[in-house]
């Protein structure tokens, strides 16, 4: 520890002497990313989606896609690109050589200036890669996050109110390794016997270019095809105004996230011979669960899998690592000239059987037992300007799930997507997450369509609509039901400095109407949200964003509105960057709450739901400490005026250190 402190002091002292500082990559989050994050945050039935999405973005910033490697699998990590764009970019680099400037990408068929700006924080033009070069230069990265809410002290919690995250990674040539540890607010840092950090994850990885593409020992993340059978990576949901819905690809990556229950722990290998690829994996991981106790207090079965990862009370701590989940499987894929086909198989074994609640009609189709077998086939094919893709998965030879879609690109300025999916009642994939409106992906049938159109020079229009039917009961809805959602985005980018955006979002769903005792009735719940945004960046060191949002919710008829001002400024002479937001909001009820994406620390996120009458402000400062690291500090404050006229305040301090050595 003493050595570390000494090193830290030396690093800070050196950085004060450094005048010739190179700034990091642009810290610009484009509006489309913010839109998706806010859309996911508003999904009531999948509260983890936004966190996973932003963590994925952080991972992309930390490990940008090296586009000049021409690896389509790696390029597909840029999830907002369609398969068309991935193939187009890879072909372009193969044909013309390395991309030397990101602006060159705008001339690649299927790309435009707006897409390039969106990609820029997440790509690198460097060709040498830890996984591909023979260089043995060692690079260590250490990241620590501390989050504290000064006013909040709950004595019922087991640990301190501090939220701590530490990540360490090392890369040397084709080998890399990493370690992640985390403690949420209220949790003890060390638990169990012998004591271990609350959450500890580690991996070692080898990447190659020959038959062995990748081998990972430890924790890893995996996705097969469309993700309906296996997908522990990000679920993008269905973003109606994003350029593409999805890609059909297998992806094996080291696990660096902090979701405590959605990853594999064991070994995995990705092997490739010419156009054929095989991924094999074995995982044995302890996950959280809610037990059912028999009369003699013995755990007889599991009621549900507990996914939040929070263990800040004694009762929640009892759920920790209660269940051993063993998963193994393999995926085979082959690239024909115009078509890629794949098949995968996996089995999940639970150490304690899962038992559905027999008294609850909603769970009548839910999984029971301790063994789940999944078989899946997938394809995607490109012919001219049409791409067709799909996946069919069945669990325990009984419950199928289908995903099929088509992407048309009639011209470089127009892209059209249609996606149909059907997840039967009872379909279960413990580690799967295909495209759909909820993370569970069962009891859902729907069709979604969207288009992106460059209507005129500098004017972009995107719009989409989704209709989903739920043939069986679901959370807060005791009837078969349906939902609709739609959206329109108009973007006008007259110059690189200016951005005007108008967004309209419409949502309709059905929920119980429990006005009297007995069986609940059903009613429609509807919301319409309008958003106007103006962004001006006079130069690369400053940007000013003004946003107005208005939301109307029915049947309550409540309205909500906000006006916010963002300022981003990077000082010229000192390596300091500043973000400031001031936001005033006024909503008549929780129904008309508004979500606002905020810039935050890496691997931390904030999309507060603003409800009531009040203000939300934050200031964040980043200090680049030479080439050794950076420090970020964020202070945020929310003030709410109660009905009595008294104002209440909540504040939060976040601190982050990143050190490279």
């Amino acid at each position: 520890m003493t050595f570390l402190y000494q090193k830290l002091i030396i690093i800070i002292a050196f950085s004060l002497l450094l005048y010739n500082v190179s700034f990091g990559q642009a810290e610009s989050n484009t509006e489309i990313i913010s839109n998706i994050a806010e859309e996911l945050a508003a999904e009531d039935n999948d509260p983890e989606a936004a966190a996973l999405y932003l963590e994925y973005l952080n991972d992309l910033i930390e490990n940008p896609v090296k586009i000049n490697l021409r690896d389509e699998n790696d390029l597909s990590r840029l999830f907002f690109l369609s398969d068309f764009q991935v193939k187009s970019l890879a072909d372009y680099i193969r044909r013309t050589g390395n991309v030397v400037s990101i602006y060159e990408i705008a001339s690649v068929p299927g790309f435009d200036q707006h897409t390039v700006e969106m990609m820029s924080p997440f790509i690198s033009l460097k060709e040498n890669d830890a996984g591909s070069s023979d260089s043995l230069s060692v690079r260590n990265t250490l990241l620590t996050n501390l989050i504290l809410k000064p006013g909040e002290k709950d004595t019922s919690y087991l640990g301190s109110p501090l939220k701590i995250l530490a990540k360490y990674s090392i890369a040397a040539g084709r080998f890399s390794a990493g370690l992640t540890t985390e403690k949420d607010a209220g949790e003890k840092f060390f638990t169990g016997s012998p004591p271990f950090p609350e959450f500890l994850s580690a991996y070692t990885s080898y990447s190659g270019k020959g038959v062995i593409r990748k081998i990972i020992l430890g924790d890893f993340s995996l996705r097969f095809g469309a993700g309906t059978s296996i997908n522990t990576a990000m679920r993008t949901g269905i973003q109606l105004t994003a350029p593409g819905f999805m890609t059909i690809r297998d992806n094996l990556r080291p696990y660096t996230s902090t979701d405590e229950n959605n990853f594999f722990r064991g070994a995995a290998a990705d092997l490739a011979v010419k156009n054929a690829e095989v991924i094999l994996f074995y995982s044995r991981n302890r996950i959280d669960a809610t037990p059912v106790l028999s009369s003699d207090s013995v755990i007889s079965s599991i009621m549900s899998i507990y996914k939040s990862g929070l263990h800040n009370t004694s009762s929640l701590l009892l759920k920790k690592d209660l269940l051993t989940e063993t998963v193994y499987g393999m995926s085979l894929s082959y690239n024909f000239r115009f078509m890629r086909v794949g098949a995968n198989w996996s089995e999940t074994l639970l150490s304690i059987p899962l038992q559905r609640n027999a008294d609850d009609p909603e769970s009548i189709h839910d999984f029971e037992g301790n063994k789940n077998r999944l078989l899946s086939i997938n394809y995607n094919t490109v012919s001219g300007r049409i791409m067709i893709y799909g996946e069919m998965t069945v669990n325990n030879f009984r419950y199928p799930a289908f995903v099929n879609g088509v992407t048309l690109k009639p011209s470089d300025r127009l892209s059209v997507n249609v996606l149909w999916r059907k997840y039967s009642n009872g379909f279960t994939a413990f580690n799967g997450s295909g495209p759909g409106n909820s993370s569970s992906s069962a009891n859902e049938e729907g069709i979604a369509g969207n288009f992106s159109f460059e209507a005129a020079k500098h004017l972009f229009i995107s719009a989409g609509y989704d209709i989903t039917h739920y043939p069986w009961l679901k959370y807060r809805c005791s009837f078969p039901s349906m939902s609709r959602k739609g959206g329109i985005v108009l973007r006008y980018l007259p110059t690189e400095k200016l951005n005007f955006e108008f967004t309209y979002d419409y949502r309709y769903s059905m929920i119980n109407n429990q006005k009297a005792s007995g069986i609940a009735g059903i009613e429609g719940s509807e919301s319409r949200t309008f958003k106007w945004l103006f962004r001006y960046a006079p130069d690369e060191n400053s940007a000013f964003t003004t946003r107005i949002s208005y939301k109307a919710a029915y049947p309550s008829g409540s309205r909500g509105m906000l006006l916010l001002q963002d300022v981003y400024y990077r000082f010229g002479r000192v390596p300091v960057t500043l973000w400031f937001r001031y936001c005033l909001f006024s909503t008549e009820s929780w129904d008309s709450r508004l979500y606002t994406y905020e810039n935050d620390l890496l691997y931390s996120f904030s999309i507060p739901a603003l409800s009531g009458e009040g203000s939300r402000s934050y200031i964040m400062v980043k200090w680049d400490i030479g080439h050794f690291g950076e420090m970020r500090i964020k202070y945020s404050l929310t003030g709410i005026t109660e009905k009595s006229g008294i104002e209440s305040f909540n504040d939060e301090v976040k601190l982050q250190f990143r050190i490279w050595f």
């Binding site: 006079p538 107005i548 006006l563 005033l584 203000s615 005026t641």
Partner: protein, 252 residues
Amino acid sequence: MKGNPFAFRSGAGERGTGLVCITKSGFWSSFSSQSLLAYNSSFSAGVNYENRFVIPELGTCTAGVIFPAGKSSVGVIYSNFGYPEFRRNMGGISCGMPLGKNVSAGVQVDYFSEIVPGEYDKIRILTFEAGAAFNLSEKVTAVIHLFNPIPNSIRKSLLPSTITAGAGIDLSKTLFAGAEAEMSTDENIIIRSGFEYEAAKKFWIRGGFSTRNSSFSFGIGYLIKSMKIDLSLSTHERLGVTSSVSLVFKIK
């Protein structure tokens, strides 16, 4: 919709355009949006009287002065609203300067004092407001402005905050149009729009509309040598008419 009574809005010319104050440079608008001070590079002084709903007790007297200070311009403003038993005074010192070819910024330190009869205490509050103006093109200007962006938790007395954003365009050499959106603490968004037309040489006609109390505004202005005189009327959906008159002298 009450708006923020502390956020400064004065000047018969500005009221004539529906209080579209932050996007068009002028003497009074420089105290509503200090970034516009950067465009006032001459020594000038002005007085304004506003009478709400023809009730003398609801009158506001305002006086201000602007003088150049190098690349910057500095302004001093004083305003008095009410009658001896209920009075609100405001004093402010502001500074605005260009930050680049197309950007200017300004800040104002405000001091408010209120005297309220009865058991209520006197209120004295110090705060600030700041903004930036961007020349998006030769004809289009966008402005943002924050009034009192200080959380009330830092200070014991409550003072509403306001965010204003707007844009103005010179549609021709004689016609200007602007629109603003404004939101204050515990309030809904107010949209204002207005125009100013130079109908004859040195003579202006103004009009505007604000969603706050569905208020329409009308006004005229005339320049006599170095003195500009402005008159305006604005309506309130229930309470009647507010009239104002202002004189601005450009001394140097």
